[in-house]
């Protein structure tokens, strides 16, 4: 009797494994590439990826408090490590799926020069960046300004976006003349699509390692494992690269 | 020149007011009619609370409204008493009385002191309106309107919202106003009893139009009054108290044409009073009647006859000296008695209401 029920359960597990669904929390800066990758993923594996976009800090709070996410694509490498340590994520699963690139961008086609001299010259009222305390791209932006020695002079002009998407919105509407955002947000056909921008050299800030991790709710879920593997595959890497991220 | 000339035309959905009136500049004029007759609307037009599309209003030689002129309510020298006293809830009685007084530049014909005394509200001054009875509230409302020293007092059914007991409480004060105020009063009412007690002049209204207009005594004696009064058909006589019979507790009042006995209500001899005689209390006899319980029997002559509300009834106007009474008879008894103009008759009066 016990054997029979075990058999039925494993049969059910196999049956459902073929069309599983995975709940994914995606850092806002990775919105563009992930929308493309999820389509490919569904087509190639038959699994479905249900995506939520937002700030990593908010996702952390939600995951700790029982949100049903199975995979987190973080904007940093600290949050996944923290989640593993606290038992909310599966040990051994974190890996760097992309390394973010920072850009100083303006909707005005003339404002930002190719070497970022505008930071020293000034001539703007507001510089926007994501909250440095919580957003990796914001933190990177602060590091750049510190390295260049302009952090103190620009500090009164800083306006913070709640996350990298809102920061982009501040700049795109012209409310802030320029700001630090992710290259992935403005890239089009391998270059900055509109306005003007400065792709900040990687030596001016710590690498923005974006790690993915399987969360406790995704443990042993075939679709979660499949997604993690898919992110390491050629097709996904090509997409990630096309959005201006470095690869590991 | 010292009267009020009013012409208003007002079109509302379902109601039209169309009047052209000359009102006396003294005494109490009653705007009388059933509800919906337009009497309150007319009063509001006089006060400037309604602004009719076409209108002309002249008060004692001054234009308040015509094609080019519009005097807003707060600039008209009026006193206005609303149906519900409408006291300001955030002020006490004295605050209510002072409200208009502080803002009025016109001469204090009836000063605050006099108004307080006239309405008997001296003991209420510190009270808040919500602690007053309905009658007290209305007395304060009247005093408040008088305290601004108005040149005319407009009253919109000040007793209508009160029960009988409260009415009886206020009526004596209104009668005092009638006697003591030098300014004209326009008094809206649907109660024939109030009108008979208080008015000198009556404007009867129906369907937004004036249907009768004249001095009270003459107008009430008209048989062709176009508004239905039912049991209240009757006349009012101006009289003076002749003698008081202390043994029988009766008083004799004398009017132009005769005398009537009525219950003594303590009115001193020589005092001017008003007597109301309802048509239903008057009967006619062709011969001098046998002695009966009816005390008041007068000699008169049939003056004219008119239709009553009911086809079986008839109104007969009888001349007694210089005065007139109206009697209500059945058509059959009128026919049997051969009632016709010029016929001498004995007039028996069952009941007389004495109004101070």
């Amino acid at each position: 009797m016990k054997r029979l029920s075990t058999l039925i359960l494993s049969l059910l597990a196999i049956a459902t494994a073929h069309a599983d669904e995975v709940q994914v929390a995606v850092a806002a800066n990775f919105t563009g590439p992930m929308q493309v990758i999820s389509v490919l993923f569904e087509r190639d594996t038959g699994h479905k990826a249900s995506l939520s976009f937002g700030s990593t800090g908010k996702f952390y709070a939600q995951i700790v408090n029982g949100a049903p996410f199975q995979v987190l694509l973080s904007a940093d490498d600290e949050t996944p490590a923290k989640l593993v340590k606290e038992g909310h994520a599966v040990a051994g699963t974190p890996f760097t799926y992309a390394i973010g690139k920072l850009v100083l961008w303006s909707a005005d086609a003339k404002l930002v020069d190719a070497r970022g001299e505008v930071l020293k010259k000034g001539g703007f009222k507001h510089l926007s960046l994501a909250n440095p305390k919580t957003a990796p791209y914001g933190k990177a932006g602060m590091q750049v300004m510190t390295q260049l020695g302009v952090a103190e002079s620009i500090k009164p002009l800083l306006v913070q976006g709640e996350n990298i998407s809102q920061t982009h919105q501040f700049i795109a509407t012209g409310a802030a003349e320029l700001g630090f955002i992710a290259y992935s947000q403005v890239i089009k056909n391998g270059a900055i699509g509109s306005g003007s921008g400065w792709l900040v050299p990687a030596n001016l800030y710590d690498p923005i390692r974006q790690d993915a991790v399987i969360l406790a709710k995704g443990k042993d879920k075939p679709a979660a494992v499949a997604l993690m593997n898919y992110l390491k595959g050629e097709k996904a890497l090509a997409v990630i690269k096309s959005f201006g991220y470095e690869l590991r | 020149m010292d009267g009020i000339n009013a012409r208003f035309k007002l079109d509302w959905p379902g109601f039209t007011l169309d009047v052209d009136l000359a009102l006396p500049g003294r005494g109490v004029t009653a705007l009388f009619g059933h509800s919906g007759s337009g009497k309150t609307t007319l009063l509001r037009c006089l006060a400037g609370l309604e602004r009719p599309s076409h209108g002309r209003l002249e008060f004692k030689g001054k234009i308040w409204q015509d094609e080019n002129t519009w005097l807003p309510t707060h600039q008209r020298p009026i006193g206005y008493v609303f149906q519900e006293a409408s006291l300001f809830a955030h002020l006490n009685v004295l605050g209510n009385l002072n409200f208009g007084l502080k803002r009025s530049a016109t001469a204090q014909r009836v000063g605050l002191e006099q108004a307080i005394e006239l309405l008997g509200i001296g003991h209420l001054l510190a009270r808040k309106p919500d602690t007053l009875s309905g009658g007290e509230r209305q007395r304060v409302g009247i005093a408040r309107a008088l305290a601004v020293g108005p040149e005319i007092l407009l009253m919109d059914e000040p007793l209508a919202a009160l029960d009988l007991k409260r009415k009886q409480e206020i009526l004596p004060y209104l009668e005092r106003l009638h006697d003591e105020l030098a300014i004209p009063v326009i008094y809206v009412s649907h109660s024939p009893d109030e009108v008979a007690r208080l008015a000198d002049h009556i404007v009867a209204m129906d369907g937004g139009r004036v249907v009768a207009d004249g001095p009270l005594v003459e107008t009430l004696a008209r048989l062709d009054l176009p508004i239905r009064l039912g049991e209240d058909v009757g006349v009012v006589l101006d009289a003076t108290v002749g003698t008081v019979d202390t043994e029988w507790h009766l008083a004799r009042v004398d009017f132009a044409g005769g005398s009537l006995w009525t219950r003594d209500r303590g009115v001193p001899t020589g005092k001017h009073v008003r007597v109301r005689v309802l048509a239903r209390d008057v009967s006619l006899a062709v011969h001098h009647p046998e002695p009966s319980s009816i005390q008041n029997v007068l000699d008169g002559t049939v003056e004219s006859m008119g239709d009553d509300d009911h086809p079986g009834l008839l109104l007969v106007r009888v001349q007694i000296g210089a005065s007139q009474l109206v009697a209500r008879l059945t058509r059959r008894s009128a026919a049997q008695l051969g009632i016709a103009p010029g016929l001498p008759v004995s007039v028996q009066i069952k009941s007389v209401a004495l109004m101070e």
Binding site: V159, G174 | L49, F82, F88, H90
Partner: protein, 225 residues
């Protein structure tokens, strides 16, 4: 117990709510008066516009305010040409945004207070020689006092509780636009849960106290009998 930046956020929030309430008392009173008195065709549209912030997501209001007050928007160009700069990311920008966002909380209680007074006390005042303006101050204001208290308290509390719009146009600048609700959000985002708890508790107690005071206040009749 609270950090300096928390206290700064609370003081900023109080100032924002206080100034917004004052401005809305001045702006909202005539609007509420017109809405309560008028029978004209524009009463419906005006009432609907005033009520919009009740149903609009703060993100919609914040987005449009950002666009119109930014350097390319009509309001932004006006303020810039007046030498005032642009309003997003400034304290006065938040005041403008809060004034829109909290408008119904001022106008609607006032409107119903004015409506419950009715026509009669105004007519009485006119017959007692009071001009319309005089009537407003000597009769309407005292009779509508409970309505004014309710409206002011609701406006203040609602502005204190505002988050979405501030986030959209504030830029999270300490001492300028980082109000208490944003500060709490920041604490949560930064995983500083203990700090978030303390400030959140302050907000909770404030809001509850305000509402408790409102709901237990003895209702007074607002009309002259």
């Amino acid at each position: 117990m609270l950090t300096d930046s928390d206290l700064q956020a609370i003081w900023l929030t109080t100032r924002l709510a206080g100034i917004t309430t004052l401005i809305l008392l001045l702006v909202g009173t005539p609007i509420a008066w017109r809405l309560a008195r008028s029978r004209s065709w524009w009463k419906g549209p005006l009432g609907a516009v005033v009520a919009l912030p009740l149903v609009l997501p703060p993100s919609v209001l914040g987005f449009y305010l950002l666009l119109t007050m930014g350097p390319h928007g009509p309001v932004g160009q006006l303020t810039a040409s007046l030498g005032l700069g642009t309003l997003p990311f400034t304290f006065w920008g938040l005041v403008v945004a809060s004034s829109f966002y909290s408008l119904p909380f001022m106008v609607q209680p006032l409107q119903s207070a004015f409506e419950s007074i009715g026509e009669r006390p105004l007519e009485v005042a006119a017959t007692l020689r009071a001009s319309p303006l005089d009537t407003f101050f000597s009769v309407v204001l005292p009779l509508a006092k409970p309505g004014f208290i309710t409206a002011s308290v609701l406006t203040f509390a609602h502005t204190v509780g505002e988050f979405g719009v501030v986030l959209m146009i504030g830029g999270n600048i300490p001492g300028v636009t980082r109000v208490a609700s944003v500060q709490i959000y920041d604490h949560v985002e930064a995983m500083e849960y203990a700090d978030a708890h303390r400030l959140a508790a302050v907000m909770l107690i404030f809001s509850f106290t305000v509402l408790l005071a409102m709901y237990t206040r003895r209702p007074k009749p607002a009309r002259g009998d």
